[in-house]
Amino acid sequence: MAKITLSNLRHSYMPNPTGPADYALKEIDLDWQDGGAYALLGPSGCGKSTLLNIISGLLTPSEGRILFDDRDVTDLPPDQRNIAQVFQFPVIYDTMTVRNNLAFPLRNRGVDEGRIARRVAEIAKMLEVEEMLDIRASHLSPDNKQKISMGRGLVRDDVNVVMFDEPLTVIDPHLKWKLRSKLKELHQRVRATMIYVTHDQTEALTFADQVVVMQDGEIVQIGTPVELFERPQHTFVGHFIGSPGMNVLPAEESGGAVSFQGNRITLEGAVTGQGGTTQVGIRPEFVSLAHSGLPARVSKVSDVGRHAVVEAVVGDTPVKAIVEGELPEQGAEVHLAFRPDHTRLYRDGWLSTENEGSART
């Protein structure tokens, strides 16, 4: 296992990139600890797969270095980086049995047969595929094929990092949570450094101790799942994580006071910086219906069962609230209350308030 360092990494698919727009990866500086579980989360085209391929060596970055335990591996091909990767679609060797599939990465490296047999048995037990060991891999169902692909990634215990590239794409929805939790369990058992690439917040937040959120080739926030949810550093993070995402509302700032549609808004703490476009960000979970507060008219109520998402228009801006219990009628006049400790100001997209709570400690 190894610590991974990415330093001043940039990548462009064009031969002569001119502006920042030509870069698929803009400027990446990262340190990943040995044995951690990390996720790269972002929409398609955000550069997360590019970054993954650079780490695995399938792609050479235009600029910058990659270090495994302070050893520069930037120019090494994938097979010399000592890594494992699980792909979006199951990659199995059709003509081999499941057992031989699992043994393949070890045999290629000349590991002795006794050890191979032990490792294969161990991995098969972890993945609960012991009874399939002697079946030809081409006869398996897609989710079992993907399990075998994962098994091949985990069978070597000397790898620097195991990478997962949207590994649950082909898995049936009602089987997804099983594999999702299996992966988490595997990480806790083998304690390898693992990097998981996905656009699905549940997969990322479930799997990783630390999530790297990416947008347009840039890292917008690195944090624990709780940090990403509770205190998004950027409106994109607030929007992308959570369902529905954070309300991002146009705000006016004058003399230290912030207002939205003419209503004064109490924020979590002091405002920092100045100028730029300002927005107020608050998650629907922290908006409630109240007797007083921002006057609004209910435009939509969708009952999700365990709670309802109420959309109410303040002035001309819709605001979403998660409501449990009594539901208002569509068209009803209501008042919205924002929980101050979760109401923040964003300036040009970036967080621009101080957290009083953390300032005190």
Binding site: H174, S181, H199, R283
Partner: protein, 354 residues
């Protein structure tokens, strides 16, 4: 517009895909087919679209028996899970293609294509080819084709399944508005309970080629007629356990017991199956009327604002779903609190009794 199935069934090479099904689907709201992969959603859609022959029964559209009509003559649209567009045509020609086939005048085609493109925000891309678009745009192009065609029925077969999570959320929010007031019967197949709830309208729960329950989405979520329906309409899976009732007291096999109230109080003594949704089983007590349970935590998951814990309760795997983040130790026993006032009670053969 209506689509009516009169004990319609589908059998292919001796295998029954759809057992005789009677159902009336109407316009004005979404008709969601909810069921797991292989439950027969796609089979039912193909049957209604005329892509597969009926083994028995009839299908009526708008008072007309269409059982023997070919797909072409039924005037329906189908949007697939995969983005199906003509790769060699521009977006404009893709949307226009069914209208041209119908022999519509050029000026009218243009009007309709532009209207559909506006609704789906495809105006700036009309001259591009599908492969130059993102996945979300490609699927919007397929949807625009269905809208421009103004068909009697629109079948959406898991149209969002292959889109990014956030895109899915956005498009799902727009979908009901897109089809509102167009007169077509909209049938939407999905395997995700949450999607059915968000789309609203009516839902048909499907399991093993049978529609187990049909009704207003929120209503069947609140009152599943049987255990199968309750299981289909729950994600994470609904918690179930064997329970016995003597007098006012209900007791689980694990020993947990409580005093039943409401409709359940009137049930005769005996053995039942209790089922309760994961969000009514929480790591902290909610309300006053709760039952304490204890189980070994197997797996924990976090999705945005909610966290879930899978735990072992006697012989059954249970799930708890709660707001916020909770410190679980995987492999350790934890206490959970069940709000029994939200429990469903089923007879042993799976019928809802309270």
């Amino acid at each position: 517009m209506t689509i009516e199935l009169k004990s319609a069934s589908k059998v292919i090479r001796g295998v029954t895909h759809i057992k005789p099904t009677s159902l009336v689907l109407e316009t004005g709201h979404f008709n969601v087919l909810l069921g797991q992969t292989g439950s027969g959603k796609t089979s039912l859609i193909k049957l209604m679209a005329g892509l597969d022959p009926l083994a028995s029964g009839e299908i009526w559209m708008d008072g007309q028996n269409v059982s023997r009509l070919s797909t072409q003559k039924r005037n329906v649209s189908l949007v697939h899970q995969f983005f199906v567009n003509y790769p060699q045509m521009t977006v404009y020609d893709n949307i226009a293609s069914p209208l041209r086939v119908a022999g519509m005048a050029k000026s009218e085609i243009q009007g309709r294509v532009e209207e559909a493109a506006d609704i789906l925000q495809l105006r700036p891309m009309l001259n591009r080819r599908p492969q130059e678009l993102s996945g979300g745009q490609q699927q919007r192009c397929a949807l625009a084709r269905a809208i421009a065609k103004e068909s009697r029925a629109v079948f959406l077969d898991e149209p969002l399944a292959n889109l990014d999570y956030k895109l899915r959320e956005e498009l799902r929010e727009q979908l009901p508005e897109l089809f509102a007031g167009r007169g077509a019967v909209v049938v939407y197949a999905t395997s995700e309970p949450e999607e059915a709830l968000l789309l609203g309208g009516k839902t048909a729960l499907m399991d093993d080629g049978v529609v187990t329950q049909y009704g207003t989405t929120a209503q069947i979520y609140r009152k599943p007629e049987n255990l199968t329906a309750a299981r289909v309409f729950s994600d994470p899976p609904i918690n179930a356990a064997r329970m016995s009732k003597v007098g006012d007291t209900a007791t689980l096999d694990t020993g947990a017991s409580w005093t039943v109230s409401g409709a359940a109080a009137g049930l005769p003594d005996g053995a039942y199956t209790l089922a309760i949704r994961p969000h009514h089983v929480t790591p902290v007590p909610a309300g006053t009327d709760y039952v304490k349970l204890s189980g070994k935590v197997l797996v924990t998951e976090l999705s945005g604002s909610e966290s879930s814990a899978h735990f072992q309760l006697g012989d059954d795997g249970w799930v708890s779903l709660a707001h916020g983040v909770h410190p679980y130790e995987v492999g350790e026993a934890h206490e959970f609190y069940m709000d029994a006032s939200h429990a469903f009670y089923f007879t042993q053969d799976g019928k809802l009794v309270a």
